[in-house]
Symmetry: C2
Subunit: 113 residues, 2 copies
């Protein structure tokens, strides 16, 4: 294998490590749909079916580390925390849409056999 292919494989793995797993794409979708609303932690947990608080917390932290999600703490009492997608995070939205389309059509393909 030429060296360039290794680079390509590693880049692919980077993407999958960031967006892989059960929840990250769903969170991205949620924040994309609700981009004009205030997205508070509890409401997000309710809006993403099946996610636990622990997971939501962890995943949001990961996404924040990668500068894909922004976290804003409001000094209310009790505190509320608002999440939103960053401009950079939006750069992945077209790809997520492709994945979404592919996933939808794949259901049909598998069902047809």
């Amino acid at each position: 294998m030429p060296e360039q292919c290794n680079q390509a494989m590693l880049a692919l793995r980077d993407s999958i490590e960031i967006w892989g797993g059960k929840w990250k794409l769903m969170i991205l979708l949620y924040l994309t749909i609700k981009v004009n609303e205030k997205n508070y932690f509890m409401e997000m947990a309710r809006g993403i079916p099946g996610i636990s608080g622990k997971m939501l917390s962890k995943e949001l932290k990961d996404l924040e580390m990668n500068q894909l999600v922004k976290r804003i703490v409001h000094d209310t009492k009790p505190v509320t925390v608002e999440y939103s997608i960053t401009e950079y995070g939006k750069s992945f939205v077209p790809i997520a849409e492709q994945l979404l389309k592919w996933g939808l059509s794949h259901r049909k393909v598998v069902k047809e056999k």
Copy 2:
């Protein structure tokens, strides 16, 4: 959340379940690059850095189940098995390319901070 959003989230998860994990995209890339060659098991294992035989075997089986990879057994002795990407599998290649590009550029973004 409207019902339609749940469908979208599930479709996203379908995609990530099929292509997620450490190896599937790398296998797809391998078979895409070497689409004009005979791809035997051992050679693939050598060409995908770090993969174990067990994992390659399992991942290929998963991909075959989803009709993304074709498996051809040659009646030589000892037997050799040839793998290739299906036409349907190729439908994901453009998305993989997007993921690849995104992964490459993400390295720079993270490095810059």
